[in-house]
Amino acid sequence: MVSLSELIAAAAILVSVYIVREWFLSQRDVHPLYLEEQSSIEPTRLPDESAIYRSNKLDLPDKLRIGLDIRYDHYKLRNGNLHDVWAIYANTNGGNGKLSINDKTLSVGALNYRVTKVSQALKLRRVSEVVIPFKTYQKLGFPLLAVILGAFVLSITVHIVSGDANIEEEDGILKLMLVSLVEQFVTLAFGGPLEPSNELNEFPNAYDPADDKGAFLKVSIKKLVFQTTVEYQVINAISAIAATLKHLPFNHELSNKDKLVIVQDTDAESMESVGNEIVKLLCGLTAACGEVAIVNDDVCDPLELKPTVMVLPQTYYLTLALTNGAIIPGGSSWLLTLRENLLSRGIMVTYGSKFAPLRLIYVHKPMGYGMHPLIEDSNQARSLFQSRIVVEHTWLTILGPVLATDFFDYRVLPVHVRSYGALSQSLEFKLVNVNDKMEGTIKTRGFTIGKLTNKKNGMVQQNSQTGGSDGFMPIPLPSKFGKDGVLYVL
């Protein structure tokens, strides 16, 4: 016979456990329904096609993200340009912003002085294009960074070339970059030692509509007789920046409290990373991050820089995760396992992180490549670094991410795919040639798509990725939209 006191005790325990369980579930970052609807879908579709999908984070459901909405003349809004981006960084933070490359640091004022000098020299010499060999770009230093930014603020095209570029490689960086037209004008800016002795804490930003137009970046890949060139316009950059910044939820956006560390992809073949790295750099400038750092040598450990936000190529991410204790399958310690289990229920534990103040890791992965298990289920790395992870999937002809996993997406999916993620806010998508399972190939259109040119022996070839009459560009990857509005590349 059970006594009354025993029953009361049992009931009390039951209630306590229920309360504790509910408290745990109340700690979820977002309600599960948030992740079950990540796109807005057109109500109709054409035969053999899916409906058009767009991000559901847009201000208006049918208006793609196009610009930074910079206010001018009191009430007008404009999309912005790269001149604005540098002006934002140079003129905010009271000149206290910093930029670092590996172990060298310059104040924003010191770099602004050099950017201004370089841009003046570029303008004086009427340079129309700055050509940089890919290998040189991969070892980006301050002189080259100043030249790139100097070109950006003038809307001069920066052209990054792999393979056999017709550029003489002499005297290292300074000579290389500037190419055919160039004399030694960079010495104007870098004549002396690279010390922060000369600073300029103001960057005038008079709006010129001409800065909104033109190609700001070209990427050329040469292999044997074939050359592929992708040309990105200023509007592509501005849209990619806006879409990337707005992908982060309110209260988790990049800000002047952040230290953004971008690890350059040093893979000799990885031209796709160029656009993504430049967009992240520009995002850091636009958000006026307290410090923007670039790491491109083996000596500098990005974690030792104490970043709040890191941008990593997938290979580096895997190395970093594995060397810091992420093991596949299963966790290495009960604490890691517990955090991982809670993550799968939407609860992120950030207390007691040994990697603090790290809060966000961007992982860059080309869309067509297979997914590594540690990327596919990033919860182990999330629980290891106690940081959110956004996996961005890119395509060469599109600037910035095409798909990006949601900031709060810790779901463990019972599917294995090549890529998946929420849609870029600057692009809209549909699938064509769909079968009865609604699987088809991707078509996309929007504001971050560059212009592709293929050449063979110097002759321009017909472009298979040209958009049709409806302006949609094909991405020849078999895919399917999930019930959650996420695009899965099969």
Binding site: I13, V17, E37, P43, T44, N341, R345, V412, K480, K483
Partner: protein
Amino acid sequence: MISLNTALIILVFLFFIKSMVGVATTENPLEQAESDPLVIEGKFTPKTLARYNGIDNPRIFIAVKKRVFDVTQGATFYGPGGPYENFAGRDASRGLALNSFELSCLTSIDEPIDTLTGLTKEELESLDSWEQHFDNKYKVVGTLHENNADSSEVVPPPQPQSKKDA
């Protein structure tokens, strides 16, 4: 012997462990829905259009000058209880031209499509401005054809509702 109380505690504890420990896998998002709930863009007849009235189907379509607009976004106006609810799922051309919401301005769905005869120049201009308004605001999802049009050309019957429709 274990008392009932102890057994209960153990059971509750196990339930808690089971519900909070172990990786929780999400439902497969790629599982096929029962059917695709989206309307295929195409040709409507007065009868097939009538289903899209916000009641029989959550979407609201109306026809203006033989073009069918998806006005679901404006459900406050065109949906049930709205001032223009009579137009939902119907050819609203004459009503818009006359600026009248009365049922008498609508042609029965069994009858041929209204040819708009008898409207004055001002009324036709009014209709044009309504059409322009719809063009600017709503998406065209198809065209309106007579009930006796080739059955292969008309929109298929409505599909079961998805969760998004709810």
